[in-house]
């Protein structure tokens, strides 16, 4: 019995090591249909699984700036226009988060966060401009509250810390009122 268990453990160890070593040599194939390559696709250099995943998802953008953000309280529709700058030469997708806050007489309260996964088309300077329209469901906003959004480049949804109101990077949202008309 012990021999069988030992054999099983050794076998599992060998399989696991083999799989681990295989990550250095083989790239996980992706769905080519949703990505339009700007340049010829090359096999990436050898990396550990953990480091590869980190560089692919995080740090793809160096800058994210909002140019317009309009929220229609009647239709619950958010329309935004923003500009992104990429860091990596071969970026298959980026993740951005938009953290919404409202200001009232008591101070600033957190409203919601919206995450977008995008495949932007960057120009030769690594800059992309994007319009996004999306339905959103915010907690109820009071008529006198103004809404601000703090954009976050390379956003990971499972981040445990609650977003902090970064006043320096906060952008004013234009609201089309419901009860104000």
């Amino acid at each position: 019995m012990i021999k069988h268990l030992t054999g099983f453990v050794i076998f599992s160890f060998i399989v696991g090591i083999s799989a681990f070593i295989a990550c250095f040599f083989y790239e996980i194939p992706s769905s080519e249909s949703v990505f339009v390559a700007q340049e010829p696709i090359r096999v990436s250099s050898k990396r550990s699984c953990g480091k590869y995943k980190k560089k692919h998802k995080r740090g793809a953008l160096t800058d994210l700036k909002l140019k317009q953000a309009v929220f229609n309280l009647k239709t619950k529709q958010l329309d935004t226009n923003f500009v992104m700058k990429r860091k990596n030469q071969y970026t298959k997708g980026v993740s951005i988060g938009l953290h919404f806050f409202a200001k009232n007489a008591s101070g600033t309260r957190y409203v919601a966060t919206i995450k977008f996964d995008l495949i932007p088309v960057f120009d030769d300077y690594g800059v992309a401009e994007q319009d996004i329209s999306s339905p959103v469901w915010f907690n109820s906003l009071e008529d006198y509250e103004n809404v601000y959004v703090v954009p976050e480049a390379n956003y990971l949804q499972n981040e445990s810390n609650a977003p902090v109101f970064d006043e320096a990077n906060a952008f004013s949202v234009i609201t089309i009122g419901k009860n104000l008309d």
Binding site: K67, Q68, V70, D79, T80, K103, N146, Y148, A168
Partner: protein, 547 residues
């Protein structure tokens, strides 16, 4: 005896001749001193441009007459140009008046007129300087709108370049850009002044060139008619499709200046022509081109304004193009364009014609939002006082903001509108001469209440074919930015506004000077592909040399 009589007679003759010579000499001295005094006063008196009747203006503005006569202009039109007196907006305390409400304005005539003065080697009269029109002359890098709104709203705050203790707030609107292919069909009636005063190279010939540029932008879906007015008025060209360019240009080129100016009859005919060819859901517009000598009789100005307002209600708008010098009735033309839901541009050169009716024609032809009003509520915990720079003749009562029956300005496709407020931060005293301090209404700044929110901007606008307005709202945070780190939009607008304050010799100009204007403009002009901003910097240099 005879000798004695002849001696007496000769003595009388000598006395008479002496008196006669003395009178001649005295008269010559008086005449010489009057001529010298009128030319010395040419560039210094501002009293001439106060709000008075045209008759008073005609008699008292001899300084302009002197210069025009020297240059060989029509002697009949040597009375001065007319500008409505502007009383600058003062600083207001937020505790007394937290709301500021005004109508937007897309006119640019004042900048072109100021440019004309400076290029002619003269300082403009201060009432000719409307700072909002100087600022609005330039394009800014505002983003295009999203979310179905016809214009984007952009706000920013930084330190004030002419008063380091204060801040400067910019509110910028960018109208949606529309290709001419997507503009509704136009029914245009050109109402042209062909009176004797238009007989000048900078008037009728330039007018014809300008309209040729405009007509070349139109297509077969558009219609054009030409009505002229002088001693009498007439329909020179019945409404015809715009692709008949030969016929239109023939009619224009055959126009000659002559006669007096009977504008009232002409404008009635122009509106009738527009009504007879009305295009439903199209752009129905009378375009008035004149040097401003729009004589409809002193008792008929009110009737003229009422007629234009009633035609506006029926969907026929009025835009105005001003030309020439010497008798420019700037105040009347601005008023007509305002009441007619149109815009007022001054054409001083071929280049300006290419801008106003060439590259910006879509803005003239296609209104994307009408009755656009702005109301700003300032946070008394952050703002002790504020001053709206310009827009003196666009102010509205606070209750007018929510009143859809109150008329306001229109935004055309591609137009930008910029408004600037100078802010006195909380904790500082607001200069309010002649008014006692309040004792019951003192507001203590609170760091927590809407912390760091300076103000809320609200805007109301109507879609072109609707009567009910829509409301937009946006807050503005104070990030303690200095003017040096502000955007190029704010820096350049601040530079132009500062130039306007200097030209007006404003009591609020504080530390404004030409060097600061040039330095700020140079740091913010960007690529300036059309060279308008470089031209502005040159004009500042001219003004500095004249001053």
């Amino acid at each position: 005896m005879r000798n004695r009589k002849s001696k007496v007679r000769s003595e009388k003759v000598d006395v008479r001749s002496l008196i006669f010579c003395a009178v001649l000499l005295f008269g010559a001295l008086i005449f010489a001193s009057c001529s010298t005094q009128s030319s010395d006063q040419a560039y210094s008196s501002n009293d001439v441009y106060s709000k008075r009747s045209p008759a008073q203006d005609m008699s008292s503005n001899s300084n302009m007459a002197t210069r025009l006569e020297v240059e060989g202009f029509d002697e009949q039109k040597t009375d001065a140009e007319r500008y409505a007196e502007i009383e600058e907006n003062p600083f207001l305390e937020t505790s007394r008046a937290p709301l500021s409400t005004f109508s937007i304005d897309v006119d640019t005539a004042s900048y072109a007129n100021v440019r004309r003065y400076l290029n002619d080697g003269m300082m403009p009269p201060k009432d000719a300087v409307r700072i909002e029109e100087l600022v609005n002359y330039f394009e800014y890098d505002y983003p295009q709108p999203v979310g179905g709104v016809p214009f984007s709203v952009n706000t920013e705050v930084a330190s004030c370049p002419w008063n380091a203790k204060n801040k400067l707030v910019q509110i910028g609107l960018q109208g949606k850009k529309v290709s001419l292919d997507n503009v509704p069909p136009s029914n245009l009636v050109f109402l042209l002044d062909v009176s004797g005063s238009m007989n000048d190279p900078r008037k009728l010939p330039l007018l014809k060139n300008s309209l040729e540029i405009l007509v070349n932008q139109l297509t077969a879906k558009d219609r054009v008619a030409i009505v002229v007015y002088a001693g009498s008025s007439g329909l020179v060209l019945p409404s015809t499709t715009a692709n008949n360019r030969g016929e239109i240009m023939n009619a224009l080129n055959n126009l000659e200046a002559g006669g007096s100016t009977n504008g009232g009859e002409g404008i009635g005919l122009a509106y009738k022509t527009a009504q007879d060819n009305f295009i439903r859901n199209g752009n129905n517009r009378v375009i008035l081109a004149t040097d401003g000598d729009f004589n409809v009789g002193l008792s008929s100005d009110e009737q003229l304004v009422k007629m234009i307002e009633s035609k506006r209600q029926s969907g026929i708008f009025l835009s105005v193009l001003g030309f020439g010098t010497g008798n420019l009735n700037d105040s009347m033309m601005e008023k007509l364009a305002d009441k007619g839901n149109g815009n007022y541009a001054y054409i001083d050169s071929q280049t300006e014609a290419l801008k106003a009716v060439g590259e910006q024609v879509a803005g003239t032809l296609y209104t994307i939002a009408k009755d656009v009003k702005i109301q700003v509520e300032f946070n008394p915990a952050k703002v002790a006082g504020y001053r709206l720079i310009g827009y003196e003749n666009r102010l509205l009562a606070d209750k007018d903001f929510n009143d859809d029956t109150k008329d306001a300005g229109e935004i055309g496709a591609g137009h930008t509108v910029t408004a600037l407020y100078e802010i006195v931060p909380a904790g500082q005293k607001v200069s309010n001469p002649g008014v006692d301090d309040l004792k019951y209404s003192k507001v203590q700044p609170s760091g927590e209440s809407f912390n760091n929110e300076l103000l809320t901007v609200k805007l109301r606008y109507k879609e072109p074919n609707e009567t009910k307005s829509k409301l937009l709202k946006q807050g503005l945070l104070d990030k303690n930015n200095s003017i040096q780190t502000a955007s190029n939009n704010l820096k350049f607008a601040a530079s132009v506004a500062q130039f306007g304050l200097i030209l007006r010799d404003s009591r609020y100009k504080e530390n404004s000077n030409f060097e600061n204007v040039v330095s700020l403009a140079n740091s913010a002009k960007g690529s300036d592909l059309k060279n308008y901003k470089n031209e502005f910097i040159d004009l500042v240099g001219k003004a500095r040399r004249l001053k």
